[in-house]
Symmetry: C5
Subunit: 265 residues, 5 copies
């Protein structure tokens, strides 16, 4: 429990944060990976096995140091984010999001992660990948809508993360482009009121797994997020979702160091 | 078994109840969390692993003392209720219900719980959250109906708890508000005869997981509850439930101390 | 294997049967519980874990003695039946059927059972409950049908048990009562030819889990039972079963002492 | 691996085959069980647990000797066939098919099997049973078709076995007999070209589990078998299969001694 | 992790590659198996159990040497390919593809594989098989289309592999041949633009399991592959897929030696 963090952990964390400093060099690359089209985003969720917590704290800290090392080692090629799901999702305990220009680099990271002493405690992995693309339908939308879409979301920390996998039905893909465009404009207008308090990112997953889209959200206002989804459920396009969630991943945005502190306790 | 409770348990329970006293300070807060809108309710169901019962009773009591401590520690921010499912549901053995104004606080509690020596025996967790809101459709209902809805349910202990997760179909959300309102009035009228013997509480779950609603019931009359559900299954609105239950959680309302006594045996 | 029963088991069985005698007092109550409306019937199926058979026979016999004790202890409030599923169902190895006027009493029995040294080997529990009621539709049926329904099934042992959980579709419940009554008369007429060789019992499960009905059958003629179900599948009412079986539990009717003998080997 | 069979195994196998001789007496009975109506056929598929292969070869051979003993012991009442699924089905490693006039006898065999030292390594059991009956629809078919149906399949070993469980939809059973007969004639004509190279056997499963039929096939020509199924998928009757396979079991026909040799390695 | 490969592994890999040389003799056969109709292709995916990584590296290398031996031993009759799924699919860690003229030979290989010391760490196996055939619909297609289909895909390594299992709906098979041919021509035209960058291979699975087709792809351009699938989802034929993927297997094409190096680390 919180109050039980030993001095040992504190030291360990200092050391780990120290390691963190080293990798600052790769920061620039990260911005491109997170903003540009043609980037592969992979979500890997894991549960911790029963053995993890049974280990002595010193052992766990040693293994978390390895985790830190594996992440740092791949930071040059990958943008790696971590999230804490335990307590808010029953699907998994931790979530990694990787961005890379080649999925092989992501695979190499996950091989190293799962092969590490820490990774041996990761079970029930769920992995799905998607590709970032230029907006499909926005070009055809009215200018005022385009303009509003350009307004950035509020700055500052957004503590909650939600990931919703989506699969469209067969009808959707057989619809003519203009019909899909019209539905997507309706979808976009319904989402617009929440663009300030909710960050969104879209990944195209068709063919890379059993999904068509991965929708990623960050927010500090879960009530707003609920209103957003209720709004999206009312538009025609929603009826073409054969799968929406299952699972919906809900968690909190954390740093690698914060996760390490939680897992060390 | 019942008759096998050792003096040791009795003492332990006394000690634990003692601890219970301490936390009385937080009581006031609890009423607001359980009655007001804008509160997040989280249901976390767990099974006990095979190792739990194999442990020596003294060890189990020590771990239950930790459980008690973790719960007390979070009582300031959270309203925490516990229920015993084993024997009435195959889905899980125990159920925790947490009410909080921020889901992060609930996550912190579950992190501490699952990280504790007791929590290491909790498996197959099922977690879903919802948000309490002002009644959506009641404002438009006739005054006599509104009046009847204000009549409180009978006072006194209601020993049984039922939790039914609900997901509406895509048609439901695309219906105009007045049509949904009309159906909900029919739904409400069907439920009214049971408002005395059955306590209800509704949580809006859309976007926080794969549910739209979490319905919570307490009753001492399971036959009345069966009649209530049969009544609700007859109204049009029911046909818009894509999912109703799966699982339906049935258990008994208990205090933390009662659960501890059961688990200590 | 059969032939390998040691004298030890024989003695143990004698002792257990001895215990059995003691509980004869509660017998009267049992008849009421099995015949009257307003009684809760609970079906709890369990598999034996891999550890069970690996134990020394002496240990298993000691644990089975505890099982016997737990059952006897609850016989005053509960009517408890046991069935052997292993070999005929893959769903579970043993099935307990409990009848009680309060589900809390059934829960207390299952808590004691699962908490016992024997119960620690019970896994993958499946539990569902239903309520016995006066016949819904019979009152409106023609007198000759009512008369035929009164004819009791053949006396004597019926070695096979079948339990089929049923969930009706949303259409069923929204049908007017008279339409459902007409369909149920057709259903009843189809079932009538088999009333002599097949004992039936019906439980209303709506709201107590994810079922609407639990149908219970005993027979010595599985070929007749197959013809019965084929007959029922042909009537209109069958088309309103969203779920029929899944699982269908097939096993043999045994006494507690017989099960103990089987498990002791 | 093949080449690693020790002399020990060879000897053990000789001994086991020796045991095999003893049971020749029961052979006659077997033919009736496999050909006559009113016989219960049970399919029990099992996986071997992780512990099996980790055991010393001597221990495995000792346990396989027990397996042989259990099978021989029940040969008087049961016709028992074994199949090797591992490598061709992911569902299970071995399949037992039992024919008996009473399912209780089959249950007793499976109880003895699962209770044996060998059986303790059998997991994830899948069990389903069916009843052999006189052909339902053939009597109404034209004489030339009847005649062709009488032509026996080619003699000699058919190395491959396929078992496909089937569940019909609610429409099927509510169709008038003559309509079903017409569809079954179309079905039969589609199957006829393959009667020489593919042996078929049908079991009626309604009410004994969640299936309506179990179809059993033996062939040395899997390409012919594929053509047969493609032919059957084209006829109207196929559209009334709510479930077809799931799982489809594919394996090889083996003798008990061959399986023992494989498992001993 | 990569950087931690000990000299020991390097040596071991040299030895293993050495073994590889020996089996060059069988190479010719392989081309026929991979190109001709009437060949059975089997896909077997496995996860590595938790015990694998916990073993000492020397032990793992010894077991991987056995793996190499088992594969070489079967190379005469089988064409065996291996793929690395871990990190890109959550379904399994490694995938084996076997081509054989008789499924029994494939079964024998998998029996030897799973029976080996290495194979004892393989769990959650998924196995499905299909038969290669002459193109069904191409003969009826216009000559220019036939010509384009003959153009080989670009030479050189295609690092990514995708395997998508497909099941058609009942309507598909009951459609007249010419209608299916027309839809398949539309399907083929949609796929044509990607024939250069994406290698395809088709297996007919009907009757050999619960699939109708297994589609196999190799590419170095996952973005092209995504466009291909999006194109195929737009044509009428796609609406007759009852199942498409579930799972979709995504991984990387590797040599046995590369996999051994990864698993040895």
């Amino acid at each position: 429990m919180r109050f039980s963090i030993s001095l040992l952990v504190r030291c360990a964390v200092l050391v780990l944060v120290g390691l963190g400093m080293v990798s600052a060099v790769a920061a620039a690359d990260r911005d491109k990976l997170l903003s540009e089209p043609g980037v592969y985003g992979t979500f890997a969720a894991f549960s911790l096995d029963a053995g993890w917590a049974k280990q002595d704290q010193v052992v766990r800290i040693a293994q978390l140091t390895v985790l830190k090392g594996v992440v740092e080692q791949h930071r040059e090629k990958l943008a790696i984010d971590v999230y804490l799901l335990r307590g808010l999702s029953d699907h998994a305990d931790v979530l990694f999001r990787m961005h890379a220009t080649e999925l092989r680099d992501t695979q190499q990271f996950l091989l190293d992660l799962q092969g590490s002493l820490f990774g041996q405690h990761l079970t029930d992995s769920t992995v799905f990948s998607g590709l970032t693309k230029k907006a499909n339908y926005v070009p055809g939308m009215p200018d005022n809508l385009k303009a509003e879409l350009k307004i950035p979301s509020e700055p500052g920390l957004m503590p909650y993360v939600i990931v919703i996998p989506i699969r469209k039905d067969a009808d959707w893909w057989s619809l003519p482009q203009e019909q899909r465009a019209a539905m997507m404009q309706e979808h976009t207008e319904a989402a617009l009121p929440y663009s300030k308090t909710i960050k969104r990112k879209l990944y195209h997953a068709t063919g890379l797994g059993d999904l068509d889209f991965i929708t990623y959200f960050e927010t500090s206002r879960l009530d707003d997020f609920q209103s957003l989804i209720l709004g999206l459920e009312k538009v025609k396009e929603f009826r073409h979702n054969r799968r929406f969630g299952h699972p919906t991943l809900l968690g909190t945005v954390t740093s690698l160091d914060e996760i390490i502190e939680v897992l060390a306790q």
